[in-house]
Amino acid sequence: MGPRALLAEIFLRVLHPALLLASLWILLRGHNAPGGGFIGGLLAVAASAAVALTFTAAEARRRLPLPPTPLAALGVLLALLSGLPGVLGGHPFLTHLWFIVPLPVSELPLSTVILFDLGVYLAVWGAVGGFCLSLLAAVEAER
C-alpha cells in the first residue's frame, strides 16, 4: 500500500455515499429522463473505483453489497424474474406490468420495469466493478 492520501480520504467520506445515491437517482429517473440502469451502474462502478484508488481494492470490495460475481448474477436473475409475471398473465416473456398505486397527493406507478432496470444496474455494477477491482487488486499485488 502506497502513501496515504489524506485529503482524498476525507473527501471520499462524502463522495462515496453521494456517488452511490446519485447512481440510484439516475437509475430511478431513467424511465422519464436521461438515465437508467446502465448509466447508474457505471456511476456505481466509478464510486467503487474511487474507493479502490484511495484505499485498496479489498476495501472497495468490502463496500459492495455482495461480492462482484454474485452481485452480477443477482442482477441477471432479477432481470430474468421481472419477465415472469407477464408470462403468468398470459403475455409474452418480458411483457412488463404496471400497477398505479393512488396516493393522497399524487399517484405512484409501480412496474416490473423497475425490477428489470435494477437488474441491469446490479449486473453492470457487479461485472464491470468486479473486473476493475480485480485488475486494481492485481496491480496492487505487483507493488
Binding site: 437508467g36 452480477a72 432481470a79 461485472a127 480485480s134 486494481l136
Partner: protein, 773 residues
C-alpha cells in the same frame, strides 16, 4: 486402468492380473446387480415395443408441432422396417447393458459408458422413427457424436483418440453431405416428410436435380455405413470397449445409413442411377472388406471387416430391384444382428478370459471357456449360413433375390467370394480358436467369463437357432419390413420354408470355397501382406495425408498470424477490416449519392476539433500515460458530441465509461511502466511503421467515405417513429432510449447483461493469476 477392449491383440501382465481379479464370482454378481438399472430402460422399452407390436397394428404415427413456421414437426412414423430396427436397438441394447456390467465390472468409468450407451440408444430410436428428414438428421448427428465419445472412451491411448477423431471426421463430414442432400431433396419434392416424399416419388424422379440430391444422400449414408471409400473408419473404431463395438459398430449405428437407403428405396428403386450406384458400391465394399478380413490377426478386427462386408452386401441388396431383394434386406438385417453381436461378445470374453484377441495365440479354448465356445459355434453356424440356422434363411432370401433381379455375373461371383470369406471367418471364430490343440506358452490360466457376459451371447444364438428351425415365426416381422422397403410387397406371401435347390447349389459352392480359404488363411495372409504397398493408394492413406496437410496448414497459419507482436496483430485486424470497407465502397459507392455539404452547428464543430486534436496528439505522444489521457479526449469529445446532437443518455454513458476506463487503465499503466521491458520491441515496432501508416490512412478514408455515404441514404424513420409514438402510451415512459432498453427490446438487454456477467466470470481467473504471480 486399462480396458480389455482397448488392448489390441497384445496382453499385458497388468491387464491379465486385472481380469483375473475381475472374474471373482461375487464381483460378477454385484456387477450384474449394478447393471440392472441400466438394463431396465432398454428392457422395458423392448417390452413395450413387443406389446405394442402385438396389440396395435402398424404403422404408428405420432406428430407434435415443434416450429410450425419452419414446417418442422416432431413427426414419428413406425412401420415394419422401423419396428424391426427398434426391436434390434432395444433388444440388443438390453443385452449390451447386461454384458457391459460384467465386462466393465470394477472399472470406475463404467457409468460413463452406460450413460453414453443409453443416450445413444435413445438417439438411434429417434433416428429410425423420424418421419421428418431434418429430425432424422438431428438424431443421425447425435449418434455420430455419441459414437465419437464411445470410441474415444479410453482417451489416454493415442490410437483410441485417433480412431475416435477419424470416426467423427468421416461420419460428421458425411452428415453435412446428408444435410445438403436432404435440403435439395426437400426442395425438389416440396416436403421434408419421408412419407410425402415417397408418395411424390413419380413426380420427383423426373427432376434434373435428383441425381445431385441422391449423390449427396449417398455420401452421407455410405460414410455412416462404412461403404467404400469411407469403409476404413469402422475397423479402427474397434478401439472402443467391446460392448460398444457389438452395439454401435455392428448391430445399430452402422446400419443407419443402409436404413435410410432402404427407406428411400420405396421411392427410387426404379431409377437406374439408384440401382447401379448401390449395387456397384455395395459389391465393391463387400469385396474390399472380404480381402481385408484375411489380412487381420486380431479377432475383433476380423469381425469388423466382415461386418463391413455384410454392410456392403446389404447396400447391394437395397439397390437390387424386386420383392425378393426387399425381403433379403430384412432377413439379412435380422440374421446379422443375431450372429454378429454374439461373436463380438465372444471376442470380448476371450479378451477378458485369455487376455488376447490374437488368433495366433488362441487355440483349444473350449476347455477353458466352454460356454463361450457353445455361443461361438452356434453363431458361426448362422454366419456360415449352414442349413437349420437362421443365417441359412437369410442366405436363401439373398439367393432368390439375386435370381429374381437377374444380377450381372460379376456381382454374383463377388457375392460368392464374400460369402466364402464369411464361412472362413465363422470357421476361424468357432473352430480355430476353440477346437484344435491348446497352445501352451501362456503366463496365466484362461478362464470362463462371468454369467453376465455369457447370458447375452447364449440368448442371441438360442434365438438364432429357434428361428433357424422354425423360420415361419419371424415371417410377419420380415414381411412387414419388406413391405416398408417395397410397398407393393404382399407380406402374406412370405414363406421362409426352405426352397432347396438353387439355394443348396449356392450354399455348397460357398461352403467349399470357405473351407478352402479357412485352410489357406495363413498362406493368403502372407500373400496379401506382400501387397502391403498397395495400401498407399487406398482411401485410408489418403485420409491420413489430408489430415497431415490440415495440421501443417493450421501450423503455418498459426505461425503467420499468432506471432506475438502486438503491432502486427493490430495491422492484420485493421488491414482486414480496411479491405472489407473498400470492398463495400466498391459495391455500394457506384449507386449511392454523396450528401451535399451543409453548415454544421458551432458546438459540433468544437467537439469534432476536440476529438481530432486528441487523436492527433495520441499519434505524436510517446509517453504511455500521457497517451492514455489524450485518448481520453477522444472519448470525452464523443460524449460532448452526443450531448449536443440530442442523445443525453448516450453522452452520460460515454462519460461514465470513459472516466472509469481512464482511471483504471492509468493505474495499471503506471504499474506497467515500473516493470522492466521484457524485449527490445522498439526495433521491430519501427519495422511495422510505414505499413501501419498506410493501413491507418486507408482505414480512416474508407470509413469516412462509407459514413458519408450512409448519411446520404434516405433514412427509414418507421421504427423511431413507432418508438417515439408508443413510448408513453404503451410503456409509461418519456425517455425513449430507456424504454427501448428495458421494455421494447428487453430480451436483447437481458442477453447483453448476461454476456457482461459471463465476461466477468471468464476474466476473473486470468486476473487472479496476474495478481498472484
Amino acid at each position: 486402468m486399462s480396458l480389455p477392449g482397448a488392448n489390441g491383440g497384445r496382453a499385458t501382465a497388468r491387464h491379465e492380473e486385472m481380469s483375473a481379479a475381475r472374474s471373482d464370482a461375487p464381483l460378477a454378481w454385484t456387477a450384474g446387480a449394478s447393471a440392472l438399472p441400466w438394463a431396465l430402460l432398454p428392457a422395458s422399452l423392448f417390452g413395450l415395443l413387443v406389446g405394442g407390436l402385438i396389440s396395435v397394428p402398424l404403422p404408428w404415427r405420432v406428430s407434435w408441432r415443434w416450429i410450425p413456421a419452419l414446417d418442422l414437426h416432431f413427426a414419428l412414423y413406425v412401420d415394419g422396417l422401423a419396428a424391426q430396427f427398434l426391436l434390434l436397438i432395444t433388444g440388443i441394447g438390453t443385452l449390451v447393458a447386461v454384458y457391459g456390467a460384467g465386462y466393465l465390472a470394477g472399472d470406475r468409468r463404467r457409468w460413463r459408458v452406460f450413460t453414453l450407451l443409453l443416450l445413444f440408444m435413445l438417439a438411434m430410436i429417434g433416428a429410425v422413427s423420424s418421419d421428418h428428414l431434418l429430425l432424422l438428421f438431428v438424431f443421425w448427428e447425435l449418434t455420430s457424436v455419441l459414437s465419437f465419445l464411445l470410441v474415444g472412451f479410453d482417451h489416454a491411448r493415442e490410437s483410441s483418440r485417433k480412431a475416435a477423431q477419424q470416426a467423427l471426421l468421416i461420419t460428421g463430414t458425411g452428415g453435412l453431405f446428408l444435410l445438403a442432400g436432404i435440403i435439395l431433396l426437400a426442395e425438389i419434392g416440396g416436403s421434408y416428410s419421408l412419407r410425402q416424399l415417397i408418395a411424390a416419388a413419380p413426380a420427383i424422379a423426373a427432376d434434373a436435380r435428383l441425381p445431385a440430391a441422391l449423390t449427396l444422400l449417398f455420401i452421407g449414408a455410405f460414410s455412416k455405413s462404412a461403404q467404400f471409400p469411407f469403409h476404413f473408419w469402422l475397423p479402427n473404431a474397434m478401439a472402443a470397449p467391446t460392448p460398444v463395438s457389438a452395439y454401435l459398430h455392428s448391430a445399430t449405428l452402422v446400419k443407419l445409413g443402409i436404413y435410410l437407403l432402404a427407406r428411400l428405396d420405396a421411392a427410387f428403386s426404379d431409377l437406374p442411377f439408384w440401382e447401379y450406384s448401390l449395387v456397384g458400391v455395395g459389391t465393391l465394399t463387400a469385396v474390399v472388406a472380404a480381402v481385408q478380413t484375411v489380412r487381420e490377426r486380431d479377432l475383433k478386427r476380423i469381425l469388423a471387416w466382415s461386418t463391413v462386408a455384410t454392410l456392403g452386401t446389404l447396400t447391394m441388396l437395397v439397390g437390387l430391384p424386386g420383392h425378393g431383394a426387399a425381403l433379403a434386406v430384412a432377413a439379412l438385417f435380422f440374421a446379422h444382428a443375431l450372429y454378429k453381436a454374439p461373436l463380438f461378445f465372444v471376442a470380448g470374453n476371450l479378451d477378458h478370459g485369455a487376455g488376447t484377441r490374437d488368433i495366433d495365440r488362441l487355440t483349444g479354448m473350449r476347455r477353458h471357456l466352454p460356454w463361450t465356445a457353445v455361443a461361438a459355434l452356434l453363431a458361426a453356424l448362422s454366419m456360415a449360413g449352414l442349413p437349420l440356422s437362421f443365417g441359412f434363411v437369410a442366405k436363401d432370401a439373398m439367393t432368390l433375390a439375386k435370381v429374381e433381379a437377374g444380377v450381372f455375373a460379376l456381382v454374383s461371383h463377388a457375392t460368392l467370394f464374400v460369402g466364402s470369406v464369411s464361412v472362413a471367418v465363422a470357421a476361424v471364430a468357432a473352430i480355430h480358436i476353440f477346437w484344435g490343440r491348446d497352445a501352451a506358452d501362456r503366463t496365466t490360466h484362461p478362464h470362463e467369463a462371468p454369467l453376465p457376459m455369457l447370458l447375452p451371447p447364449l440368448l442371441l444364438v438360442a434365438l438364432a437357432v429357434l428361428f433357424g428351425l422354425r423360420p415361419t415365426l419371424v415371417d410377419p416381422l420380415l414381411g412387414a419390413a419388406a413391405q416398408a422397403i417395397a410397398p407393393s410387397f404382399d407380406p402374406l406371401q412370405v414363406d421362409s420354408s426352405y426352397d432347396a435347390w438353387p439355394v443348396a447349389e449356392a450354399s455348397i459352392a460357398t461352403l467349399v470355397f470357405g473351407v478352402l480359404i479357412y485352410f489357406g488363411w495363413d498362406r493368403l495372409h502372407a500373400l496379401l501382406d506382400r501387397a502391403r504397398d498397395l495400401d498407399e493408394l487406398g482411401p485410408e492413406s489418403w485420409y491420413w495425408r489430408k489430415l497431415k496437410f490440415v495440421h501443417r496448414l493450421a501450423a503455418w497459419l498459426t505461425r503467420r498470424l499468432q506471432h506475438g507482436a502486438l503491432p502486427g496483430y493490430l495491422l492484420t485486424l485493421a488491414g482486414a477490416v480496411t479491405l472489407m470497407l473498400l470492398a463495400a465502397l466498391l459495391v455500394a459507392g457506384a449507386e449511392a449519392a454523396w450528401p451535399s455539404p451543409a453548415p454544421l452547428p458551432l458546438p459540433v464543430v468544437g467537439c469534432a476539433l476536440l476529438i481530432a486534436g486528441g487523436a492527433l496528439a495520441a499519434v505524436l505522444v510517446r509517453d504511455h500515460l500521457v497517451l492514455l489521457l489524450v485518448s481520453g479526449l477522444v472519448g470525452y469529445g464523443s460524449a460532448l458530441l452526443f450531448l449536443f446532437t440530442g442523445a443525453p443518455d448516450l453522452a452520460l454513458t460515454q462519460f461514465a465509461v470513459e472516466t472509469v476506463f481512464v482511471v483504471v487503465a492509468a493505474t495499471t499503466l503506471r504499474r506497467l511502466r515500473q516493470m522492466p521491458a521484457p524485449l527490445p520491441v522498439a526495433a521491430s515496432e519501427a519495422r511495422w511503421r510505414p505499413l501501419a501508416l498506410l493501413v491507418a490512412l486507408a482505414f480512416s478514408l474508407a470509413l469516412s467515405a462509407l459514413l458519408l455515404l450512409a448519411a446520404g441514404l434516405p433514412f427509414d424513420t418507421q421504427l423511431s417513429d413507432f418508438f417515439a409514438a408508443e413510448s408513453l402510451p404503451a410503456a409509461h415512459g418519456r425517455n425513449v432510449v430507456n424504454v427501448i432498453i428495458v421494455d421494447f427490446r428487453a430480451l436483447d438487454t437481458l442477453g447483453e447483461i448476461a454476456v457482461v456477467a459471463l465476461a466477468l466470470v471468464a476474466a476473473l481467473p486470468l486476473l487472479r493469476r496476474a495478481g498472484r504471480s
